[in-house]
Every structure is written in structure tokens, then in C-alpha cells.
Amino acid sequence: MRCEDLAERITDLLEGDVSPEEEEAAIEHLAGCSRCEVVLAETRDVISLTADHGAIRLTSVDRARMLGAIQAQATTSTGEAQTSE
């Protein structure tokens, strides 16, 4: 296995989506290639970084405002709320 091959298969490796032979070849490559070892470790880091810090959490004020706007439209368009207007 070459470094380029390993780079292409990192996601498969991390998701366990490889054959036992491919996994063995990857482990063998990693044991002898510190560059790919760093790439693999950094990929794990970036995955947890993204999971921990990539989400936007709306404030409760924004949530309430957006839900109000959606519900106003939704009930109006069913026709139910029009009688009260």
C-alpha cells in the first residue's frame, strides 16, 4: 500500500468499511510510515473537532421566533385559522 492509497481509504478504515486484507495492509503501512500515522491521528482529531464545535445552536429566543413564524404560516394554510382572522 502506498501513501496515496492510504489517504483515499482513511474514511473506509475509520468506518470499518475495509476487508481484513486491506486492514492488514493499512496497519502494516502505518507501522512503517510516520507521515501517514500523523495524517490518521489528525483526521481523528478533525472529526471530533467538527462534531464538538461545528454545530450552531440557536438561542431560545431565535427558536421561539422561528417556530412562531412557521406555525402562523402552517395553520393559516390549512384554512383552520382563517375564520379567526
Binding site: 483526521t43 445552536r57 427558536r63 406555525q71 404560516q73 390549512t78
Partner: protein
């Protein structure tokens, strides 16, 4: 818009017991469970808060018209995010001006975080946002769906409307480019 026609026919399909109250309750439960994810998808495509809010609003209204399409609860989020992604792409194609810098978001601190932790988290989130903005569009959204939203790969493929191996390739390339961007930004 034609919203009233299609929403009306859905309430007929759902039966005569459907009232505006039950519609409102259904919208509220969908909204509470998924608004952050829906907003996140819109925002990471459009980089503009007002546009992402429009996308979220249209997504929930469309979802409401198609409630009978939900197969099971586990896939509800993938189904909603597919609607959101399509709405976001449609908005992106329609708009004339592309924002030059992403809108800033005040980071909502995690419950119980002390001020110092919250400040560090805000700094990390802000550098990550800059790195995400520098990615290719198609790779960024794949990474957001897989790693931020935690969708299984087959749902990433479904939301993006591409095959399983193409989705894996996008996630893989996206992670690789994001890894280099955050390393250069000193985040990892």
C-alpha cells in the same frame, strides 16, 4: 406560492380529525427535534443567517405537506435534511450576491460551562467556521452531514442525491482538506 392548496390536501389525507391544533403540535415536535440541524444545513450552504432562516421555514412547511412520506422516526432527520438541502441549493442558485464573509454567530455556551471554557469554545468554533467556509461547497456539506450531524453514510448519500461511494469519497476528501485548513489555523 400555492402553499395553501397542497397543505389543504394533506390535512384531508390525514383525516377529518386533523385540526389546526394537531398540525401546530406536529410542527412543534418536528421543529424542536430538528431545527438546529435544518438551520445548520441551510447556513453551511448559504453562509447567511436570514437566508438560512428562510430555508428552515420553507423546509418545515414543505415537510408538513409530506408527512405521509416519513418511513420511520430514525430516518425523519435525513428526510428533513434532504428537503433543507434542496431548498438551500435552490436559494443559492437564485440569489445574485454571494456573501463575502460568513455571518457571525454568538456561540451558545454548553450548559454548565464556566466563562473560560465558553470563551475557548467560542474561539475554536469561530476558527472552525472560517476553515469550513474555505472548503469546496460539495465537500463541506458532506462533512457537515456526516461529522456535525452524525448521519450514517447512506443517509449522507440520500440527502445529497448521490451514490454511496460518491458520498464516501466526498466525505473523505472533505475531511482531508478540512484537516489541512484547521492545522494551518492552529486548531489541531
Amino acid at each position: 406560492m400555492g402553499n395553501s392548496d397542497s397543505a389543504g390536501s394533506v390535512s384531508n389525507r390525514m383525516g377529518t380529525t386533523t385540526t389546526s391544533r394537531s398540525v401546530a403540535a406536529r410542527v412543534e415536535s418536528l421543529f424542536e427535534a430538528h431545527i438546529d440541524s435544518v438551520f445548520n444545513v441551510g447556513y453551511r450552504v448559504l453562509w447567511n443567517r436570514a437566508d438560512a432562516e428562510d430555508v428552515a421555514q420553507r423546509t418545515f412547511l414543505k415537510a408538513l405537506q409530506r408527512l405521509d412520506q416519513i418511513e420511520d422516526d430514525r430516518r425523519e432527520r435525513a428526510w428533513l435534511l434532504q428537503i433543507a438541502y434542496r431548498e438551500a441549493i435552490a436559494s443559492m442558485r437564485k440569489r445574485r450576491e454571494v456573501p463575502t464573509a460568513p455571518d457571525k454567530f454568538p456561540v451558545v455556551p454548553a450548559p454548565g460551562a464556566c466563562p473560560a471554557e465558553a470563551a475557548i469554545a467560542a474561539e475554536v468554533a469561530s476558527r472552525l467556521a472560517v476553515a469550513l467556509a474555505a472548503m469546496r461547497d460539495d465537500e463541506r456539506i458532506a462533512v457537515v452531514l456526516r461529522d456535525v450531524e452524525g448521519l450514517p453514510m447512506r443517509d449522507v448519500a440520500e440527502v445529497l442525491g448521490i451514490g454511496h461511494s460518491a458520498a464516501k469519497m466526498r466525505v473523505n476528501r472533505g475531511r482531508s482538506s478540512l484537516r489541512q485548513l484547521v492545522r494551518n489555523a492552529g486548531v489541531i
